[in-house]
C-alpha cells in the first residue's frame, strides 16, 4: 500500500532564507507524487507533480522538488522564502486507482 510521511509538522524560516519541507513515501511501484499548498480559507492548490519524466520537478512560485528513489524521498525546496509562502503544504501520492493518499501536512511559517 502507498503512504507518505511528512517529517515536520511545523517549519519556521526567515524571509529570504531557503525552505525545505521533507516528505518520504512508500510505494510498491513507481508512484505519482504531488505537493499541494493550502492557504488559509483557500482550497488545495497544486504546486508540482512528479511522474517519472524528470527527477527534479519545477513548480509554481519558485518551488521545486527532487525525487530520490534510493531514499524514497520527495522533498520540497525553495531558495528564498517570501511572506506569501506561509501556508500548509501537503505531500501526496496517487495510487493505481488514482485516489490520493495525503501526508499529515507541514505548516510553514515565514518570519519577517
Amino acid at each position: 500500500a502507498q503512504s507518505v510521511t511528512q517529517l515536520d509538522s511545523h517549519v519556521s524560516v526567515s524571509e529570504g532564507t531557503p525552505v525545505l519541507l521533507r516528505c518520504n513515501y512508500s510505494s510498491s511501484y513507481s508512484p505519482s507524487l504531488f505537493w499541494y499548498v493550502q492557504h488559509p480559507n483557500k482550497g488545495l492548490q497544486l504546486l508540482l507533480k512528479y511522474t517519472s519524466a524528470a527527477t527534479l520537478v519545477k513548480g509554481i512560485n519558485g518551488f521545486e522538488a527532487e525525487f530520490k528513489k534510493s531514499e524514497t524521498s520527495f522533498h520540497l525546496t525553495k531558495p528564498s522564502a517570501h511572506m506569501s509562502d506561509a501556508a500548509e503544504y501537503f505531500c501526496v501520492v496517487s495510487d493505481r486507482t488514482y485516489k490520493y493518499i495525503f501526508g499529515t501536512g507541514t505548516r510553514l511559517k515565514v518570519l519577517a
Partner: protein, 113 residues
Amino acid sequence: EPEVTQTPSHQVTQMGQEVILRCVPISNHLYFYWYRQILGQKVEFLVSFYNNEISEKSEIFDDQFSVERPDGSNFTLKIRSTKLEDSAMYFCASGGVFTDTQYFGPGTRLTVL
C-alpha cells in the same frame, strides 16, 4: 482559469439531520472525488466517481453517505443522518482523462452539533 467550486462554505447542522454538500467540478473533467479532513488530522479519501457510478470508496463511506451527479454540472455528497464525528472540512476534487492530477475546491466546513 477553470476551478472547482463548493457550496456552502460553512454548514452547521444538528445531529441526525441530513446535509447535502455541493460541488461544481471543472467542466470537461470526468473523474470526481470527495475527501474530508477532520480538524488536526490528515486529509482522507472518501469516494471516487466516474461514468455515473462509484469507482471506489473508503471504509469511512458507509451507508450514511451517498454521492450523485444530478445534472451535467453538479456533484453532491449527502450525509443522511449526521453524527458529531462527521464534523470536518469536506473537499471536492475533479480530474481529467488519462491523468491522475486532481483539482480541489475550497472546501465546505461541516459542523455537527
